[in-house]
């Protein structure tokens, strides 16, 4: 099922969808930043970099749709990113941060117990869970599945971005 999506000649394929959405978002970013390159400061440049990066991930998630857990998590994160940050760090005091870290430690212990009951390789998978968006709430089997799809999409994304960069840098 995924193979027809992968063929470059297929107009509805993942790559073409991603390319369209990504180029649109790039142009949108360009519109929002009318300042010329020479006057941009380093900070602004970094901001724009981050925006482009987020746009790349979001456009890939949009091209994939909501079928996949990682794409849903990416879109949700992008939508609620600002809100999340405000809630977590906006008005947090030191005590709050301490509580939060304590809660994390407790949660880690619980997770550890669960992990002991599950497969031993799940310990390694914790790192993978952090890498794959939305991987925290998955069991090992689903995590591997999502990782495979995520890797495929990342490869497509890198290829398209590189071709765009090569195109515009010539």
């Amino acid at each position: 099922m995924k193979n027809p999506q992968r063929s470059p000649t297929n107009p509805g394929s993942l790559r073409s969808r991603f390319t369209q959405v990504f180029l649109q978002s790039l142009l949108r970013i360009r519109k929002h930043n009318p300042t010329s390159s020479s006057s941009s400061s380093h900070g602004e440049f970094l901001k724009r970099c981050r925006r482009v990066k987020v746009a790349a991930y979001v456009s890939m998630a949009r091209a994939v749709g909501t079928r996949r857990a990682w794409s849903r998590a990416t879109l949700w994160r992008a939508r609620n990113g600002e809100r999340q940050r405000n809630l977590l760090y906006g008005r947090c005091s030191k005590s709050n941060s301490r509580e939060r870290s304590l809660g994390k430690r407790k949660r880690k212990k619980k997770k550890k117990k669960k992990r002991d009951n599950e497969e031993h390789s799940f310990g390694h998978a914790k790192k993978l869970q952090k890498l794959v968006p939305g991987g925290e709430a998955m069991d090992f089997c689903c995590l591997l599945d999502e990782t495979a799809h995520y890797i495929k999409c990342l490869i497509t994304q890198v290829k398209v971005m590189r071709s765009i960069a090569d195109f515009y840098s010539l």
């Binding site: 470059p8 000649t9 107009p11 790559r15 073409s16 390319t19 369209q20 180029l23 790039l26 142009l27 970013i29 360009r30 930043n33 010329s36 390159s37 020479s38 380093h42 440049f45 724009r48 970099c49 925006r51 482009v52 990066k53 746009a55 790349a56 991930y57 497969e119 390789s121 390694h124 998978a125 790192k127 993978l128 890498l131 794959v132 090992f140 089997c141 591997l144 599945d145 990782t147 495979a148 995520y150 890797i151 495929k152 990342l154 490869i155 994304q157 890198v158 290829k159 398209v160 971005m161 590189r162 071709s163 765009i164 960069a165 090569d166 195109f167 515009y168 840098s169 010539l170």
Partner: protein, 398 residues
């Protein structure tokens, strides 16, 4: 022996065929009319049609000849194997015959058709058909050649007539159709009486009882014939213990059917765990194909580390490319976008031959100036994608 060799080769084809076979189990068809040695030996090779004859003389009775005569050889992929007097290693030709028969609308086969699932056989590949027709209903992994021997013995069941008529043909039906005719012939290999075979043709629900008998018999046979083949034993479970999770009921295709191996625990927990473990190993294999350079890695931990590294490097590449693109944004124009999208579709990541945009020079210089400072920060991704990174190095050195 041959079986072990064949089973080794069969493993490749099975993961694909296994699911399909599970969908079309020959539940009722199982009646052992064929001698145990022949079907077990002959059926063991799922993927290879040309199996050397294994003392299969008694297997090839005149009844088969009549069947073969009915067959339209051109319909079969293995038609070369189909010869009237020669059934060497030819459980397949028989199967193929069935397939052809079904297509031709042979009435004999039509009668024999069992479950709706057998319909699948007509469209499937040989291995699927064999697996589907031979496998006892809940065989998840038809790659286990063990399934064949059991099913082979079950093939000729007189009770197959009960099976509903469907488009698919199973050789078992054929056999069952033939057997009553040829039962009088002294050449019949079937060591089992038609009665238990008819029982096997009954619904799957009843199969649990009969299958125990059958399996025990199969076990004995296989112990005699191929004690070394562990694959066969997959078929022969200690059914007496295993009732809960086993497929004795529910011919539904929604269930994942598993057979416990010989010498393994058969309670539902371990079976479910085994299913889960196999799922995980299957996914690890998929990931192994995706991640470059992981063909030689065996072991989940190392493999996971490789996967993690690969994902991290891909994400770093995305970050690097986004940085590159953000510097090139001022040079982007809408009319170029269409050409670019077309080009991005057609090509992979290769360089473009499109006309240069004179406005690109500035962003390029700017990029150089800015990125010079950030280059040392960029992590090296040489293992996976050195191209873009070295390209920047070259430009920055100018």
């Amino acid at each position: 022996m041959n079986n072990s060799g064949g089973s080794g080769g069969d493993d490749m084809g099975f993961p694909d065929g296994g699911n399909s076979a599970a969908n079309c189990p020959s539940s009722g068809m199982i009646a052992n009319s064929i001698s145990e040695e022949v079907p077990m030996m002959a059926m063991s090779s799922m993927s290879t049609l040309e199996r050397p004859p294994i003392s299969v003389d008694p297997f090839f009775t005149s009844g088969w000849d009549t069947l073969a005569s009915l067959s339209h050889n051109e319909n079969y992929g293995s038609s070369s194997l189909v010869s009237h007097g020669n059934f060497v290693g030819s459980s397949y030709p028989v199967l193929m015959d069935n397939q052809g028969f079904g297509r031709n609308g042979s009435t004999q086969l039509a009668q024999c058709l069992s479950d709706p699932r057998l319909q699948y056989i007509g469209s499937g590949s040989i291995s699927e058909m064999v697996g589907g027709s031979f496998g006892l209903p809940e065989l998840n992994h038809l790659a286990n050649h063990g399934s064949l021997p059991n099913s082979a013995s079950n093939i000729n069941s007189s009770g197959c007539e009960r099976n509903s008529e469907k488009g698919a043909q199973s050789c078992e039906c054929q056999n069952s159709g033939e057997e009553p005719d040829g039962s009088s012939a002294g050449d019949r290999r079937r060591k089992r009486s038609p009665d238990p075979s008819s029982q096997y043709c009954s619904n799957k629900n009843n199969e649990g009882d009969n299958s125990d008998v059958l399996r025990l018999q199969n076990e004995k046979k296989q112990k005699i014939e191929q004690p070394e083949s562990a694959d066969f034993s997959k078929h022969n479970t200690k059914q007496s213990k295993d009732d809960s999770s086993n497929d004795g009921e529910a011919p539904k295709e929604n269930y994942i059917h598993m057979r416990a191996r010989r010498g393994q625990a058969t309670n539902s927990h371990s079976l479910a765990e085994r299913v889960r473990r196999e799922k995980i190993s299957e996914r690890m294999r998929m990931l192994q194909e995706l991640v470059p350079g992981c063909n030689k890695i065996t072991g989940k931990a190392v493999m996971l580390d490789e996967i993690i590294n690969y994902v991290q490097s891909l994400q770093q590449q995305v970050e690097f490319l986004s940085m590159k693109l953000s510097t090139l944004i001022p040079g982007m124009s809408i009319d170029l976008e269409k050409a670019l999208s077309k080009e991005a579709h057609s090509r992979g990541g290769g360089a473009t031959n499109l006309a240069l945009n004179p406005g690109m020079g500035l962003p390029h210089l700017y990029a150089q100036g800015v990125l010079k400072g950030t280059l040392p920060i960029m992590p090296s991704t040489d293992q996976y994608r050195p191209l873009s990174f070295t390209g920047w190095r070259a430009s920055s050195s100018l």
